[in-house]
């Protein structure tokens, strides 16, 4: 069979090659990919590869490669602000500028090198970041087009500061950029369970950016989101723990980390767009368990399963149960039904109270419309 796979004498139709590239041995997969590439070049077509998710292979997009601009809002609210460092420029004397530049570069590299994704939109979209947004701004966000970072409590006396600048942790940068990826792929609505999945995806890939940057295996990683963001005045190691949700901080001023790590502790609230930063602890822990179960570098297998699920499977209104079922299905596509990888996914979700066979009803049965109505107040909040 492999004889038919020679790039020049390609007589195997693309859909079969895709199957081989999905299910074949490593050598078969490589050959199938080479053949697809060659026929792609010959026919000048892209279609054969566009839906080719299994091997996470995508043709290089037409856009440019890594392209970054960092802007300075100079403590104002106008975006994007004044450009201060462009792609290829030497480092600035401003540490926040360099962190935003380097962090988005490292995030780009994870998506490009490991998942063959060319930037936020997979078409070389320029990565814009603005630092020094407002004064005393304890936050970072993705505004639909760019990343925005505040300086934390820099306007307060050191003894009263709780937050450092938001570029300080590389996983925060990966988190924000991943919101952009989600916007172009699954487009998860930012409320209730779809919103918590949106958040969780950002934490997952934010953490993977950091782990790869530090060359850490799943066992070596701390699985903390935002380590270094809290000042020494706070009793806490970071903002969230993917390993043990609810344990990142416990402080007389900030309070206690409110994240649940199991469906039995799911928090029903209308605050925080329906608890998107709270209940994300549940899928976060499912990923942690899957990755730890598989061992090695988390971005390789677990990350691949989650990435393909985000890119090809999840939709605007996906619930936790959907994500469990879909990661389980993707694990079978990528590694085979009944594979160790698929069993690890099953275990990950089971340990947070979600069975991949779909027997656990999600506590948030509302549809997309209902979620939206609830957010804008046209439907009653769930108790």
């Amino acid at each position: 069979m492999t004889a038919h796979l020679h790039p020049i004498n390609c007589i195997v139709p693309p859909h079969m090659l895709e199957k081989i590239a999905t299910n074949g041995t490593e050598a078969q997969r490589n050959l199938a990919i080479e053949t697809l590439k060659a026929s792609e070049r010959m026919r000048g077509q892209r279609r054969a590869l566009m839906d080719f998710s299994a091997a996470a292979f995508r043709v290089a997009a037409a856009g440019a490669g890594k392209e970054r601009i960092v802007y300075d809002a100079k403590n104002g609210t106008s975006l994007p602000g004044t450009p201060v460092r462009k792609e290829g420029d030497p480092p600035s004397s401003d540490v926040a500028v360099n962190e935003a530049y380097d962090g988005s570069g490292v995030t780009y590299d994870l998506f490009k090198d490991i998942y063959d994704r060319n930037s936020i939109d997979n078409n070389g979209m320029r990565m814009d970041s603005t630092v020094h947004y407002r004064k005393g701004y304890d936050n970072a966000f993705w505004n639909g087009e760019q990343m925005v970072y505040g300086d934390g409590d820099e306007d307060l006396p050191p003894a009263e500061r709780l937050f450092n600048r938001f570029t300080i942790a590389i996983d925060i940068i990966g988190h924000e950029l991943t919101h952009g990826v989600t916007q172009f792929e699954a487009k998860l609505v930012y409320s209730f369970q779809p919103g918590a999945l949106n958040e969780s995806m950002s934490d997952v890939f934010g953490s993977l950016v950091k782990q790869r940057h530090l060359n850490q295996t799943a066992a070596e990683a701390d699985w903390i989101i935002g380590a270094g963001l809290l000042t020494e005045n706070v009793n806490g190691v970071g903002i969230r723990s993917m390993k043990e949700p609810g344990t990142a901080y416990n402080d007389p001023v900030l309070g206690k980390d409110p994240q649940p790590g199991h469906m039995k502790d799911y928090v029903n609230t209308v605050s925080d767009n329906g608890g998107v930063h709270i209940n994300s602890g549940i899928p976060n822990r499912a990923f942690y368990i899957t990755a730890t179960e598989l061992g090695g570098y988390a971005w390789e297998k677990a990350g691949q399963i989650w990435y393909v699920t985000l890119r090809d499977k999840l939709g605007t209104n996906s619930q936790f149960q959907d994500c469990a079922n879909l990661t389980y299905a993707v694990a079978a596509d990528l590694f085979g039904a009944g594979s160790l990888e698929q069993m690890a996914v099953k275990k990950g979700w089971a340990e947070v109270g979600i069975n991949v066979d779909g027997t656990t009803p999600p506590p948030e049965p509302g549809g997309c419309l209902e979620s939206l109505l609830r957010i804008i107040g046209a439907a009653p909040a769930k108790k």
Partner: protein, 107 residues
């Protein structure tokens, strides 16, 4: 706009750490009480819909909830940062400032 009590909550944000306080008008210095009343007037707070959602919430932006009480009247506004009208900013800064001060003093 007269008020007896303001309940303020900021939720969400990257850190997802809730910041909330209840402000009794009586407990405020006279000039600050006057300033808040004027700001509420300037932004026609009573006229605002309870939920401001002219666009989808932006990932990691703060979500604000402000409830103004006067006698048996109650006006509530809940909105993400990007959905708030521009003239709400000075009021948000004052309420956020009070909430932050109190949060730091509660120990």
């Amino acid at each position: 706009m007269k008020f007896e009590k303001i309940r303020f909550e900021r939720s969400g944000g990257f850190a997802g750490i809730r910041l909330a306080t209840e402000i009794e008008a009586e407990a405020l210095p006279e000039d600050q009480k006057k300033e808040i009343a004027e700001l509420l007037d300037d932004m026609d707070f009573e006229e605002l819909p309870a939920k401001l959602a002219n666009r989808m919430p932006l990932p990691d932006e703060f979500v604000y909830s402000i409830v103004v009480e006067f006698g048996d009247q109650k006006y509530e506004v809940m909105a993400g940062e990007s959905a708030l009208p521009g003239d709400a900013q000075p009021l948000i800064e004052i309420l956020e400032g009070i909430a932050k001060q109190r949060m730091r003093k509660k120990d």
